[in-house]
């Protein structure tokens, strides 16, 4: 049920929202706002804070939305993701997806959900199926991949079943319901706490999605040696589709960025030479095409990406918000801070095991080092799960408000 607000409260929330949106967007354009915006990627942390288990927020998205709103109301944050836990495990089970370990079922209810990668010889896409994928990616996904990753969907040519038919009906309607829920969530965040929804739309690098959901990381590593031209052709074939999906979910007002979540592009998963040949060309083209339409990309560089900074510097100025995880945030600032807004850089282990005083000192050091001229958004290095201490996140928030004023 929506929280009742008086006209005065509504005006105040709208003013707060406008102030925060301006602050957030100004920083993302690599300019100097009134103060450093705070946009924490809080995932399972929200469950812990709001008193839910990981099972509850991953299985019941209304609880996940409620937990995110609770945090947004209690902390002075400029922007949050409507549901950073994101994966909806009830839908996963409704359509029988096999590549998850679900809290409360395959793993304990307090654990975050996990992706499972099958053994190399049972990869969701076999090593001799590249031509099928390259010729018709959408057809391949429907006809080969989905029957393989789902308990209920039967392969083409086999008799249809009740469970097969129901999978598409339930899955399609439930997915629509979930995505529509994000619109309502954005409105509630705006009206109830004056908080901006931080991103809109989703992008994955072609190489990443082939590694994550098709060949598996180990299989794809072998393919880079055994059939490199097929890998490159598959990335090319996926590229226009990933661009299309990204644009279809983008913010029509061009305010907030499309989220790009990267997994296997960094050292040590790929060498810089492999990155240059396999990972980068198609992703670069997609980002350039998105930027040509006026949308920024939230470049979530999970892991250690500093060896790839010379490639990232090739992107158009302001086309991305570079989120720093394991990389040295000061080195990133020296290399690309003149071109792109940065975010992150507060170590997750510090937020989990450090003291509030240590967190405050770290935030001040990062602000002093990379935020002097604007173009910086405060956040942890990686998505915050339930090991982040509440008092440390509060310290990060307070230190940013204290030291991040221009």
């Amino acid at each position: 049920m929506a929280t009742e607000t008086t006209p005065n409260q509504a005006d105040r929330m709208e003013q707060l929202y406008a102030q925060r949106l301006k602050r957030y967007v100004t920083a993302m354009r690599n300019e100097k706002p009134d103060c450093v915006p705070i946009r924490p990627f809080v995932a399972e942390f929200t469950a812990k804070y709001a008193g839910y288990t990981s099972q509850e927020v991953s299985y019941d998205y209304e609880k996940a939305f409620a937990a995110a709103r609770r945090c947004a109301a209690d902390f002075d944050w400029d922007a949050v993701v409507g549901n950073m836990v994101y994966g909806w495990m009830a839908l996963v089970k409704a359509i029988g997806l096999r590549y998850y370990a679900v809290p409360g079922i395959e793993i304990p209810p307090h654990s975050a959900f996990q992706y499972l990668e099958p053994p190399e010889d049972q990869a969701w896409m076999r090593e001799d199926e590249y031509d099928l994928l390259i010729e018709d990616p959408t057809g391949y996904l429907f006809n080969v991949w989905l029957p393989r990753v789902s308990d209920d969907v039967v392969p083409i040519g086999q008799p249809a079943t009740f469970r097969n038919n129901l999978s598409f009906l339930k899955g399609g309607m439930a997915m629509l319901q979930y995505f529509m829920g994000f619109g309502t969530q954005a409105e509630r965040l705006r009206k109830e706490s004056g908080t901006v929804s931080a991103i809109s739309g989703i992008l994955k690098a072609p190489f990443d999605i082939i590694a994550d959901k098709l060949r598996g990381y180990k299989g794809l590593c072998m393919d880079m040696y055994r059939q490199p031209k097929k890998v490159l052709a598959a990335c090319e074939a996926m590229m226009p589709h990933l661009l299309h999906v990204a644009l279809s979910g983008a913010d029509p007002a061009n305010n907030v960025p499309i989220g790009l979540w990267m997994h296997r592009g960094c050292v040590p998963f790929l060498s810089p030479a492999q990155f240059e040949r396999f990972y980068w060309p198609t992703l670069k083209q997609i980002i350039e095409a998105i930027w040509a339409r006026g949308h920024q990309v939230l470049f979530y560089a999970e892991g250690e990406w500093n060896p790839n900074l010379k490639y990232i510097a090739q992107l158009p100025e302001r086309s991305i918000i570079y989120h720093v995880d394991r990389g040295d945030v000061f080195e990133v600032h020296r290399a690309v801070g003149h071109k792109f807004c940065l975010s992150g850089g507060i170590p997750n282990d510090l937020l989990a095991f450090g003291t509030p005083e240590e967190v405050r000192a770290c935030c001040k050091k990062v602000i002093d080092g990379v935020a002097r001229d604007g173009g910086y958004i405060m956040d942890a290095s990686a998505i915050m799960q339930d090991d982040t201490r509440v008092e440390n996140l509060r310290a990060m928030t307070e230190a940013t408000r204290e030291h991040g004023v221009y």
């Binding site: 996963v92 057809g139 996904l141 989905l146 399609g172 989703i202 994955k204 226009p240 661009l243 299309h244």
Partner: protein, 59 residues
Amino acid sequence: MSDKQAKPQAKRPPGTCVPWEEKVKELPPISGDKELVERLWKDIDALGYVYIWQCLLSF
């Protein structure tokens, strides 16, 4: 690169499961507003595309 620049030989361009050109051959001659039929076919067909690609990307 443009999202419209799918390779010419692509069976299913981005946003498409069953192309209109394929579907229209199955229909009797359209006596009414052909553009309306085509537009709504594409709009609903695109939902199938969203489903499979979001299964891949988001779930």
